[in-house]
């Protein structure tokens, strides 16, 4: 039977200081143009924690606002204040920077994260009071070191500084003197990814209502690589995060595919559960420091706040069919193959039109499409347009071409089958998966029957191929059939027939 989406976790972390110190747009600018006006102006464009709580797309991401409610507000929310400003939401939370730096230290297993004593003392109560951090996690927090030690490590030992309110409060040390794969920069990037993945995992487990011991496998699908000089992408962020999240019976592995990673990982997880290999699998990913402030130059130029100040994370719990939760239908799979080509029409054809045609369905038969859900507030001022809308226009155009839709009905199709984007531009984070949580809710409420999740990946950025990539799958409202504990009706019939045969044989022996 199909697997089901048992629960989801969606988290954001507000990291304004990491925008300045770790986003590649800024680090590159500091190298090539250290006196630039952009770098001077940038700090005055950073948002406060209160600002990011009051931002409509952020509240949508953590589940306090539905995608439909977001769409009712229009397609630009930068000048608006959301009616909900809670830190905690139905799917997760928006964590402030200071707490996250402490969470990074909790997630550090090699004593590379050093935080200043006073900074730890100021914020450790928030960690202790966090509803999802158990004693073991809180116990991993150490009391910190003197600032002089941190300054020495940053100034003399190539450590990556950790800043809060533009003040040095800690650092991430290099984990090897020579190996660039274990440099402070890489360790910082990987620990950020791991810590945000842990937070997403904890929320997903809670939201799915399962015991931590039930999780048998975790698949990490972020876009970072961990390893040393002898195995640069050795990996297993998944198991590393599962350890800190306290999932004792889980093992795991990493799946990569740029922004298509999450969709690949969910297809794999759904297959593992459907095959009976594992009963409960979680697909998880943490956020990406490199992309913070990626389009910052355009935002500053246009007088906008830096909107790429949030790390994103998500986790999806996939388990055996319970007859209630939405099913992942593996009979309708879209895939961009080696021979597909890179033209937008070919890409969407392979991911949307072709799998539906194979299943005897029309493009209009799917209620909602979730392609790349980037927030247009971020992409439009940077000249990248409204990415979800561009995807919907291409899907609608193919529907017209295939005779599934009248050309005049295209505008209506965009609203009826589309969504506005609300996810931060964190690469893999907006790629199809942000809608899984809301889709599950809508399907459980009987408001939605089918949703297609589409992941697309820019493989060419790795310079190994010029190919594009993508994969898609369909989630549908549960049909109501329940898993029969591994014994099918056919098997039961066979067992009864066998018993009768044995009984008849016994009678025959008695007659003799």
């Amino acid at each position: 039977m199909n697997s089901v989406v048992k629960g989801t976790g969606y988290i954001l972390v507000h990291t304004p200081d990491m925008v300045i110190h770790n986003g590649t747009t800024q680090t590159t600018e500091r190298v090539v143009n250290p006196e630039s006006e952009y770098l001077k102006e940038l700090p005055s464009h950073l948002r406060s924690f209160q600002d990011v709580l009051a931002y409509w797309p952020n509240q949508t991401y953590i589940g306090n606002v539905t995608p439909a409610q977001l769409a009712e507000q229009g397609t630009s929310w930068v000048d608006m204040k959301c009616s909900v400003t809670d830190r905690h939401g139905k799917y997760g939370e928006i964590m402030p920077q200071a707490e996250f730096l402490l969470l990074m230290q909790i997630c550090d297993c090699f004593d590379v994260v050093k935080l200043e004593k006073a900074f730890v003392a100021e914020h450790k109560a928030a960690i202790a009071e966090h509803p999802l951090f158990d004693e073991e996690m809180v116990g991993r927090l150490n009391e910190g070191v003197e600032i002089s030690e941190i300054e020495h490590l940053v100034n003399e030992e190539h450590a990556e500084g950790l800043y809060h309110n533009n003040k040095l409060v800690g650092c991430v040390k290099r984990a090897h003197d020579i190996d660039v794969n274990l440099s402070a920069h890489v360790m910082h990037e990987n620990l950020v990814s791991k810590a945000s993945s842990v937070l997403a995992l904890l929320h997903a487990v809670k939201n799915a209502g399962i015991d931590k011991s039930e999780v048998e496998y975790v698949i990490d699908c972020c876009e970072e690589a961990c390893g040393d000089m002898n195995q640069r992408g050795g990996g297993n962020f998944a198991k590393a995060a599962a350890e800190i999240a306290g999932l004792p019976n889980a093992t795991g592995s990493d799946t990569r595919g740029f922004c298509a990673g999450p969709a690949h990982a969910i297809v794999e997880a759904a297959s593992l559960v459907k095959a009976g290999t594992y009963k409960t699998v979680i697909v998880t990913a943490g956020g990406c420091t490199a992309k913070l402030g990626m389009n910052g130059k355009d935002h500053v130029k246009k007088g906008l706040p830096i909107l790429e100040d949030m790390l994103g994370g998500f986790a999806v719990v996939i388990s055996q069919n319970d007859g209630v939760n939405p099913e992942i239908d593996l009979s309708i799979l879209g895939r961009h193959t080696v021979g597909t080509g890179s033209a937008p029409q070919a890409v969407i054809g392979s991911l949307v039109a072709d799998p539906l045609a194979r299943a005897g369905l029309k493009i209009t038969d799917i209620d909602k499409y979730s392609p790349e859900m980037q927030n247009p507030d971020i992409t439009k001022p940077a000249g990248a347009g409204d990415v979800p809308l561009a995807n919907y226009k291409m899907i609608a155009a193919l529907a017209v071409k295939n005779g599934d839709l009248d050309k005049k009905a295209m505008p209506e199709f965009l609203t009826k089958h589309g969504l506005v984007g609300w996810a931060p531009t964190q690469g893999h984070i907006p790629s199809g998966v942000p809608f899984i949580g809301p889709a599950r809710d809508e399907m459980l409420a009987g408001e939605l029957n089918t949703a297609m999740i589409i992941g697309k990946g820019s493989l060419f950025l790795g310079r190994m191929t010029n190919l594009f990539d993508g994969v898609s799958f369909v989630i549908r409202k549960n049909s109501g059939e329940v898993e029969e504990g591994g014994v099918s009706t056919e098997k039961v019939k066979k067992l009864i027939a066998e018993s009768f045969r044995q009984f008849a044989a016994t009678l025959a022996v008695d007659d003799e």
Binding site: E372, A384, L461
Partner: protein, 43 residues
């Protein structure tokens, strides 16, 4: 003769617009020589 005959083309495609290989195919038919083509991602 194509409108780009004898020209050399440097192509920066956009992952969310027209990707490099698609532009390359177009300009080649117009007679240009593609000396560099890549696709970038800003999301």
């Amino acid at each position: 003769m194509g409108m780009l005959e004898g020209k050399k083309a440097i192509i920066i495609g956009d992952r969310d617009g027209i990707p490099g290989p698609a532009i390359a195919e177009c300009v080649k038919t117009a007679g240009a020589e593609v000396v560099f083509s890549s696709t970038e991602c800003f999301v």
